[in-house]
């Protein structure tokens, strides 16, 4: 769709011109992950057990970190009003923004995950399952976060509210994602939870655009 293509193109150009901002989420993931061996135990057996959970929770928090700025600049400078009046669906425009945001913040998280897996002595099978899980699960986190970001964009201090709204809704993703890793670690096929994650992704891709569009329109009132 040409609207989506135009938004994607613009946001990728903007991201390329502001790339240091997008190095922050992966850096955040690395720092949070590095605290766990110090706080819990450096023993390989303990770390391998908690590794996938730490990666998922840190990824969730890192994704949340950037979410506040998802629609904020467009809201503040008035670009969102022009998008709303364009008679193109805000749902499409908003979802395109969310997916670009995933591409520039979510994808780097996945790329550095193998490094964290090495820190936590995770088995290759668990690492692989975690990676596949993140590929399927982080877009869901971005879409759910996108709804919350659209709802809170007109509020001044939205970060704590955003966390309160988003985190409970992300419980299933974290459960399925970590379960896939622990199944794989035990030498059992992890297909079940990964298929469930894929189903959540399909559901989120289907329904989230409507919620994002409605939320943005409400925020422009």
């Amino acid at each position: 769709m040409s609207t989506a293509a135009a938004v994607v193109r613009r946001d990728l150009i903007l991201a390329a011109r502001r790339w240091p901002e997008f190095a922050l989420p992966p850096l955040f993931l690395l720092i949070v992950a590095s605290l766990f061996p110090l706080a819990v135990s450096p023993a390989a057996s303990v770390l391998a057990l908690i590794g996938p959970g730490v990666i998922w929770v840190a990824a969730l928090l890192a994704a949340l970190l950037g979410q506040e700025l998802l629609f904020r600049p467009d809201y503040d400078d008035g670009a969102l009003e022009l998008m709303a009046l364009s008679s193109r669906p805000l749902a499409v425009i908003g979802t395109a923004r969310v997916l670009v945001h995933w591409f520039v913040t979510g994808l780097p998280l996945i790329v550095i995950t193998p490094l964290v897996a090495v820190w936590f002595s995770m088995s290759p099978a668990a690492t692989q399952a975690t990676l596949i899980g993140l590929v399927l699960g982080t877009p869901v986190l971005s879409l759910v976060g996108g709804i919350a970001a659209a709802l809170t964009v007109s509020l001044k201090r939205s970060a704590p509210l955003l966390a309160l709204i988003v985190l409970p809704l992300c419980v299933p993703v974290v459960i399925f994602g970590t379960r896939a890793a622990s199944l794989a670690d035990g030498g059992v096929p992890a297909d079940g939870p990964l298929y469930l994650l894929a189903a959540l992704l399909v559901l989120a891709l289907t329904l989230a655009p409507f919620a994002v569009g409605a939320a943005l329109r409400i925020s422009l009132e």
Binding site: L151, T152, P168, V171, P172, L207
Partner: protein, 247 residues
Amino acid sequence: MNWSWFHKLGSPPHLYRIAGGLVPWFGWTALVLVLGGLYGGLWLAPPDYQMGDGFRIIYVHVPSAWMSMAAYAFLAVSAAIGLVWRIKLAELAARNAAPLGAVFTALTLATGSLWGKPMWGTWWEWDARMTSELVLLFLYLGYIALHDAFPERRTGARASAVLALVGVVNLPIIHYSVEWWHSLHQPATITKFGAPSIDTEMLVPLLLMATGFTAWFATALLMRLRVAVVEHERGAAWVRALGVRNG
């Protein structure tokens, strides 16, 4: 069909009056049912053969758990009606049902925790239903926080309505994912309160309590709505006629 009653309900002074008239009816019903339920549950029902007298907390725990979910369903339906048809009454009903639902959820968690101490020897067990209730509590609190964060009440009502609907889609997923997660981590615990066949003597007080809790929910909601309407219509002639403080 005559819809004029419906439109009357939408007008604040009528709502105020009708709600005021209904409060004693629901209130007394609630009181009678809860007292009857408590008498049946605490005196008449026999002790459970496994759990002894400890099981009697279900007379608060189970109705609270039902109400925590029923209140969310009520909240979501009201919020959706408010969002689609822009009916002020529905918006007020959703917002005022939320704290009641949150209290029922908290009560469920507290009684579950009290039950867990003698039964499992711990104040908190990551039991599937308790975990779901905990997430439900977070959803309620998120809804209230989002609603009240907006300077314009009606904008807040619409924004939080979207969140309530997202929650409706998400709640079953959360519930089943948590149950599935729990079954993997705790294969062989006794399912809490899931007695396959429950005695009539135990069941009747439970139903009385559940109906009583529902009536109490209606009572509290109507009382809250009256206050909300007066607060919202502050300055209107009919509110000033009530003699409440203005400003």
